[in-house]
């Protein structure tokens, strides 16, 4: 019997429904592009929008959206205290028993209703694409149907990736769609993951034109600025850029503003607040304008598997300044020839001064970034990689 052509995507949240997140955006975009190519797509997600509370804020049910059927399932009741206690131990690198790993997954984000749906309909799908890797929802769903499950893991070098349960998840599922070579290498190091079981796909980005002066004009910015876009939280490194920009201003006497777009609280020194512009959640167009006008796009996170916003900044013609510990972001900067990487504050100060004082070099880096992303991450190229990966890992 021929394998069905329908695809299921499983993700804890649906990007865009009040939710921001790289993995969520990636899964949704792959699903949308598969649907646009005529594939029947079911996007299975939860009713939650907030990744802090995981409260069921959207109604359960099926909604037709942009050519795909989006199924919303309620998040199960969970013991947040148990979850956080074990999570803290894992995060601090303390030994955690396999039993506690399972308790952590069970008390994470899960949906029994989603699992029930797949118990009844898994056979309808050629493949079930799931991610990111560290959610109970991903783990239990993938291991309930391992032969059909393809992980889009968005793997990071972090304590959670070193758990025994994750080794099992990667070993037993049918394959992986990685975002970058560096992520594939990490899986090789952590799980001895064979290259034959994976393909590198990533996500496509549509080229855009943005006026580099529009954002500054709209917000009355007259000084040069550096930009961060995305979730603001310690794991993403936002306190670090606040501390760095504050020290930079104090030590160099240069008037450089720090602009944020996205959601979450900003943890910044009091003296920096008059020089921060928090634009909040902005439209894609405004985000691109903010990127195009920035001296540099700052990406201080060391836990990235792709770096969508960095690639968007490259498309806007803006060089990146990334943390040297993020092998994925450094590899993107290297491949594009469009960004620099800092180990510590002294590097950051020197590199930002260099970008401020060398507009020609900045323009060259920016132009290279734009060319690189337009060439390597155009949607037609990504769609080809995606369908080739499906053919290789889950032949029809």
């Amino acid at each position: 019997m021929a394998a069905p052509d329908r695809l299921a995507f499983v993700c804890p949240r649906l990007a865009g429904e009040g939710a921001v997140g790289g993995a969520e955006t990636l899964l949704k975009n792959l699903a949308l592009h598969a649907a646009a190519r005529g594939v029947a797509v079911d996007f299975l997600t939860t009713c939650a929008q907030s990744h802090f509370t995981w409260e069921n804020t959207l109604p359960a049910g099926v909604k037709r959206m942009d050519g795909m059927d989006v199924h919303f399932f309620p998040v199960d009741e969970r013991d947040v205290g148990t979850f956080l206690a074990i999570q803290q131990s894992i995060d601090r690198g303390r030994p955690v028993s396999e039993e506690d790993e399972l308790r952590w997954l069970r008390n994470g984000v899960n949906s029994a209703a989603l699992l029930r749906h797949l118990d009844q309909h898994a056979g309808d799908y050629r493949a079930i694409l799931l991610g990111p890797y560290l959610f109970g929802l991903t783990w239990f769903t993938a291991l309930a149907h391992p032969e059909r499950s393809l992980l889009v893991p968005c793997l990071h070098d972090e304590p959670f990736a070193k758990l025994a349960c994750m080794k099992r998840l990667f070993a037993e599922t049918a394959g992986c769609l990685f975002n970058a070579q560096a992520e594939r290498e990490l899986a090789g190091e952590l799980f001895a993951y064979p290259d034959a079981k994976s393909r590198i796909v990533g996500m496509g980005l549509d080229a855009f034109q943005a006026d580099p002066t529009a954002f500054a004009k709209r917000h009355g910015l007259t000084a040069p600025y550096v930009l961060y876009s995305g979730r603001r939280e310690p794991l993403k490194g936002t306190p670090l850029i606040c501390d760095y920009v504050h020290a930079f201003r104090e030590r160099t006497g240069r008037d450089v503003k720090l602009v944020f777009t996205g959601s979450g609280a900003i943890d910044a020194p009091a003296g920096l607040w008059p020089h921060i512009l928090d634009a909040g959640f902005v439209s894609e167009e405004e985000k691109h304008e903010a990127m195009a006008g920035a001296v540099a796009f700052l990406h201080p996170s060391v836990n990235e598997s792709f770096g969508i916003v960095l690639l968007e900044a490259f498309l806007a013609g803006t060089p990146g300044l990334v943390h040297a510990k993020s092998r994925v972001l450094v590899s993107q900067c290297r491949a594009a020839g469009a960004g620099l990487w800092f180990r510590h504050y002294p590097d950051f100060e020197t590199q930002l001064l260099y970008l401020l004082d060398n507009p020609d070099a900045r323009a060259t880096l920016g132009a290279r970034g734009r060319d690189f992303v337009a060439r390597e991450y155009a949607w037609p190229a990504i769609e080809r990689k995606f369908f080739a990966a499906l053919d290789a890992l889950r032949p029809a």
């Binding site: 490194g237 306190p239 020290a247 030590r251 504050y345």
Partner: protein, 153 residues
């Protein structure tokens, strides 16, 4: 600080690996020259420490920054008031509050400063000792490798 460019590298042939390596070499030289031995740098690095642990030069660099930040200024300071109305009255009130508080807090603060100073001295001592020990062991290892012919070529 001077506003002159750190490096002048021709943009058309820009190679980011070389550029980063050149900038880092400049930074490493400046770190050795003490350009970043600054409490503001130590404060800025507080969330980056976890990523710097593996670096050979990190501890020396960080201890230098910390040495600059370790003693908190607990001496008297000029009390001012920006508000025009009741300004002198508010200044007098704050002076009284300060005098009352100082009696209770000065001892604590000076002891804390003492502890800070002792801790950093101990850390510096430990770092110097372990660096000297490692250097001696490395030297001995090289001599042993030479003697047995198992050294790295």
């Amino acid at each position: 600080m001077s506003a002159t460019p750190v490096l002048s590298i021709g943009a058309p042939g820009l190679d980011v690996d070389r550029l980063v390596a050149d900038l880092q070499a400049t930074v490493d030289r400046k770190v050795r020259d003490g350009v970043y031995a600054d409490a503001r740098v130590a404060r800025a690095e507080k969330t980056n420490l976890v990523h710097l642990r593996g670096s050979d030069d990190f501890l020396t660099f960080y201890l230098t920054c910390l040495r600059d930040a370790v003693f908190v200024d607990i001496s008297d300071f000029e009390i001012r008031e920006r508000r025009r109305f009741f300004g002198p009255l508010l200044v007098a009130f704050k002076k009284v509050v300060w005098k009352l508080l100082k009696f209770y807090t000065y001892r604590l603060w000076s002891q804390q400063n003492q502890v800070n100073g002792l801790v950093i001295t101990a850390l510096e001592g430990l770092e110097e000792q372990s660096a000297a020990r490692i250097a001696a062991l490395e030297k001995r290892l090289v001599e042993l490798e030479k003697a047995t012919g198992h050294g790295r070529s």
